[in-house]
């Protein structure tokens, strides 16, 4: 049982470089949990009880504005972790709501167990610090986007980041795009039409076809 958990934990990037000894310690306390699409895993503001490490599936991490509008902070997949920050604060509460987008299997480690493990395994503490550094990077970029770029700029950057060439890995509703950009659906629709009028994209039924990379990159600087 512990051996199979060790194998699964090794596939989680945060744990990939840890020694067998550290992984066995983690495997002894990690609890496997499964969720169906749409199921809420953590709710913002509730007491933080555990950190979660995704083995399979995709989740989205979001907050709701007082008006009920979603701001997606990040989408996470296999090998990634969430609910780590409040875990290290006294009486920490969940920072965001996390919902399964697909069938999800994850490992939960309680606050108490993780605190003990960090004390016992310096290599785990270092791995967690690397993860925190990466999260800080992401959030800094998000703050920059929200405060310094216009919706046109944010949408152009979003399209450049998510434009696909071969297999389609996912489809986006305008509502979902709006949530990622920190705006509302109507703004996304209007801006897409403006981009189409400018020849940057073509709305081809269920496809947003990106036509002008340089033009979109120029918009992304706005």
């Amino acid at each position: 049982m512990v051996e199979s958990t060790v194998q699964a934990l090794r596939r989680i990037s945060l744990f990939a470089d840890l020694s067998d000894d550290a992984l066995i310690r983690i495997a002894r306390v990690a609890r496997s949990q499964t969720y169906v699409p749409g199921e809420v895993i953590t709710i913002r503001g509730e007491p933080c009880r555990a950190a979660y490490f995704i083995a399979e599936g995709q989740v989205r991490v979001y907050r709701l504005s007082p008006g009920g509008r979603e701001q997606v902070l990040v989408q996470l997949g296999p090998g990634q972790a969430f609910n780590m920050v409040p875990l290290f604060k006294p009486h920490g509460a969940n920072h965001a709501t996390v919902e399964a987008l697909t069938p999800v299997t994850l490992y939960a480690i309680t606050c108490k167990d993780l605190h003990r493990l960090v004390g016992e395994c310096p290599e785990l503490a270092l791995a967690l610090l690397r993860d925190f550094a990466s999260r800080l990077d992401h959030l800094t970029n998000l703050v920059e986007d929200l405060s310094l770029r216009t919706v046109r700029g944010r949408l152009a950057r979003f399209l450049l980041e998510h434009g696909e060439t071969n297999a389609i890995t996912r489809r986006w509703t305008q509502e979902e795009i709006a949530a990622h950009l920190g705006t509302v659906r109507d703004m996304v629709g209007r801006t897409l039409r403006a981009f189409a009028d400018a020849g940057l994209v073509r709305m081809d039924r269920q496809r947003i076809v990106l036509l002008d990379r340089e033009g979109l990159e120029a918009e992304a600087q706005r």
Partner: protein, 72 residues
Amino acid sequence: MEGWALPEINLQQCNQCGACVEQCPTGAVEMGPEGPFIARPSDCTYCALCETLCPQGAITCPYEIVWGTDGP
């Protein structure tokens, strides 16, 4: 019609208010015994108005984001 995308209607979320049927600009949507459905797929222009006006959030019009001739 193969590969012809249509709005996706989640009948479990739908409360059969009929807004999509009444306001579809091309009259492509009809109400059936189970709920609304795209009765005339060739008339649907994928304008996504039904997604906007559905009060239950039961209709979605997802898009693929793909590169055209200019490449990535």
